[in-house]
């Protein structure tokens, strides 16, 4: 089934023949590997994640949450701060739910520190509840029970021209956890 002349080959020839046979199998595999390597390199370049065109202007800026006139009553208010950014071929709006505590004029992130779901206010129990894994937080945002390791994060805020503003994204700030 092999080369016709193979019967007349002695042992030395068999050795070189084995080398040739191996080469004939390895060369095609090499070509295939080369093509795949080229394509995979191109794929890695092609699929590299997009970075937002966020310049200094879009990060760490003071975004309005609510005018002071709205901060009446005692119930926490749900608000959303959002930043619109260019991402890839379109523009995306990055939204972040926040909670305004009107009396203290403090702003908490509504993102549960456990797995990132948005907590909701339950007026009857006067507490925040995370719908995903049943973490409970009191009306000041401190953890009362559940798998969350800490209370809701407080965001840096300030009042400017009668409007409560929050710094977002607050990535450079250390998390200021609400304590008890």
């Amino acid at each position: 089934m092999a080369d016709r002349d193979e019967t007349r080959h002695d042992k030395a020839h068999d050795e070189t023949d084995r080398g040739r046979r191996k080469f004939l199998l390895l060369a095609p595999l090499g070509v295939g590997a080369g093509i795949m390597l080229t394509l995979i390199t191109a794929a890695a370049r092609f699929l590299r994640p997009q970075v937002t065109s966020a310049t200094g202007a879009t990060t760490n800026q003071w975004l309005p949450v609510a005018p002071l006139a709205e901060l009446t009553g005692t119930e926490p208010l749900a608000r959303t701060v959002s930043v619109q950014q260019e991402l890839g071929w379109t523009q995306v709006r990055e939204e972040h739910p926040v909670i305004v505590l009107p009396r203290e004029q403090r702003v908490l992130s509504a993102v549960c520190p456990h797995e990132g779901c948005a907590v909701t206010w339950r007026a009857d129990a006067q507490e925040f509840l995370c719908p995903c894994h049943d973490s409970h937080f009191n009306s000041a945002g401190a953890r009362t029970s559940g798998p969350a390791a800490r209370g809701l994060d407080q965001l840096p805020s300030q009042v400017e021209n009668g409007v409560l503003k929050v710094r977002w994204p607050a990535t450079t700030e250390p998390n200021q956890t609400v304590n008890g």
């Binding site: 092999a2 016709r4 879009t58 890839g88 523009q91």
Partner: protein
């Protein structure tokens, strides 16, 4: 003599190689794909199988990558393709590979069929032949549906031609057209449909055909054919028949492939390597064509299909009325049917003279020659018609300018606000403000009564009719031009359903309309 081949001592072999051969069907795969032993030039001619494998793999790979950014919706498709072309690393190269591969694949498949015909393989292995013919038809269908996806001027025309061809079919034309488009007009539904066909249905069918051809259906005498050389036939007898192909992967040897198969595999690899390098360099130099958006096709745009469809394009130039559907759909269908039936039509030729045996290959060769000359004629026509030549040159220049211009992201949608949102800050709000200013700037009554039906309440366009937003930036669209278009659209190359409003509007209304349209951004 087979002893040297099949009974190499396992001790001499490297464990990885042995494991590879033991635990994969690599040998099996090679036996199925790589042709049986032959010598010299003939062996090189039979490397078309390797090329088919290369090109189909390439199409699947590049297609999967393109699908990572592409959005099959009318509002987004052109933007996402522009993004791939201009903003993503290596995007233009991958898209060019995909486009060039789609032209090369049918050519290689025709060569593959031709050499099968020449050897009379279609008679000996009718199932394999049927698989190859089906593959060719599916590849053409994939190429055809692919044009729509870029949603550029070429997509606009290709889709309209597909619509016309299908709609012109006798009896079933009307409903076939509706089923193809997903509705009464070409819309975002059509695009989604074509995308599903191009990216899911056809690749699935192509892969199924290949797997079925290689591993499920077997021709009765494949086994004999692969043992065609006297040596092999003899060795098969002396070793009391080779083991069935399906159990060869259990052999304890590094690879049971014969010397001839290895040599043929190497020949395939050489050809595949060369073609890949040429294709890669070509794709790096010439990007895939990408015209202006289908929403704003210039009136003087000349659409040209890819090279594998030029012959059909040339034929359709001469096809009047209902014969277009015959030439565009029925004729290719008949050709494929004839090819598919070749093993049975050609049965009697088995015992005939050498001349009779070669008749089918001559017929198909002649057909290929006809296709090639029609393609050449189409190219010749464009090169020697000064009007077409100049326009095509202008289009190329416009495309190059578009490529050089930076990518502009699409404006954000403003409707997807979450329920709790009360306070929103736009950091890049220029686009949103523009939308608002359009909405506040109410159209004149003459617009709402006469134009809004086709061009949208605020000039946003109702497919397939063009939008008017941004029209001021296009050439020959000043206020004076728009008034002139209202008086005589044909002078600007505009066709029905755009009609003249010369007698339907007063001069004041026309000016008011034109100024309002000019202000649309």
């Amino acid at each position: 003599m087979s002893a040297t081949d099949n009974t190499q001592p396992p001790a001499n072999t490297q464990p990885p190689a042995r494991a590879f051969a033991c635990w994969t069907t690599f040998d099996e795969l090679v036996r199925r794909v790589v042709a049986e032993p032959e010598r010299g030039a003939r062996a090189w001619l039979r490397t078309t199988a390797g090329l088919v494998v290369l090109l189909i793999t390439l199409q699947l790979f590049t297609g999967l990558l393109l699908a990572c950014y592409y959005v099959p919706a009318a509002d987004d498709a052109h933007t996402t393709v522009a993004f791939i072309e201009k903003a993503v690393g290596g995007g233009a190269w991958l898209r060019a590979l995909h486009a060039d591969g789609s032209v090369l694949l049918p050519c290689v498949l025709v060569l593959h069929l031709l050499q099968q015909l020449w050897r009379g393989a279609h008679r000996r292995r009718p199932v394999a032949w049927l698989g190859s013919v089906a593959l060719l038809a599916l590849v053409f269908a994939a190429g055809g549906t692919g044009y729509t996806l870029a949603w550029d001027a070429r997509a606009y025309y290709t889709t309209h031609i597909a619509e016309g061809l299908v709609g012109g079919l006798p009896l079933i034309g009307g409903s076939a057209r509706l089923w193809l488009l997903g509705g009464p007009v070409i819309s975002t539904l059509t695009l989604s449909r074509f995308f599903a066909l191009h990216a899911l249905v056809l690749p699935f069918l192509i892969l199924t055909t290949i797997v079925a051809r290689l591993f499920i259906f077997r021709d009765q005498n494949t086994h004999d054919a692969s043992a065609a050389t006297p040596d092999e036939a003899q060795s098969a007898q002396t070793t009391n028949a080779r083991p069935p192909l399906t159990t060869s992967s259990l052999s304890p040897h590094p690879s049971s492939l014969s010397f001839w198969l290895r040599a043929q595999l190497a020949r395939n690899a050489v050809v595949v390597g060369i073609v890949f390098i040429v294709l890669a360099l070509y794709a790096a130099k010439y990007p895939a064509p990408f015209g202006p958006s289908a929403d704003s096709v210039p009136a003087d745009y000349l659409p040209r299909p890819g090279a594998q469809f030029l012959w059909l394009f040339e034929l359709l130039k001469h096809a009047a009325g209902a014969s277009a559907s015959f030439i565009g759909l029925v004729l290719p269908g008949l050709i494929f049917a004839l090819l598919a039936l070749a093993p049975w039509l050609d049965r009697r030729a088995q015992a005939a003279t050498a001349w009779r045996r070669r008749a089918p290959v001559l017929l198909v060769g002649l057909l290929s020659l006809l296709v090639l000359s029609l393609t050449a004629l189409a190219l010749f026509d464009d090169a020697h018609d000064p009007r077409a030549h100049d326009q095509l040159a202008r289009q190329t220049a416009a495309e190059e300018a578009f490529r050089r211009a930076p990518f502009i992201p699409q404006r954000a949608r403003t409707s997807d606000m979450s329920g709790t949102a009360t306070q929103t800050t736009n950091t890049t709000n220029a686009n949103t403000q523009n939308v608002n200013s359009n909405m506040n700037n109410a159209p004149p009554a003459a617009y709402t009564q006469n134009c809004a039906k086709c061009h949208g309440a605020h000039g946003e366009g109702v497919r397939p009719n063009p939008k008017l937003i941004g029209i001021a930036e296009q050439p020959h669209r000043t206020v004076a031009d728009i008034i002139a278009i209202l008086n005589d659209p044909s002078a600007y190359g505009l066709q029905k359903p755009m009609t003249s409003f010369a007698n339907k509007l007063t001069d004041d209304e026309k000016r008011q309309l034109a100024e309002w349209i000019e202000g649309l951004k």
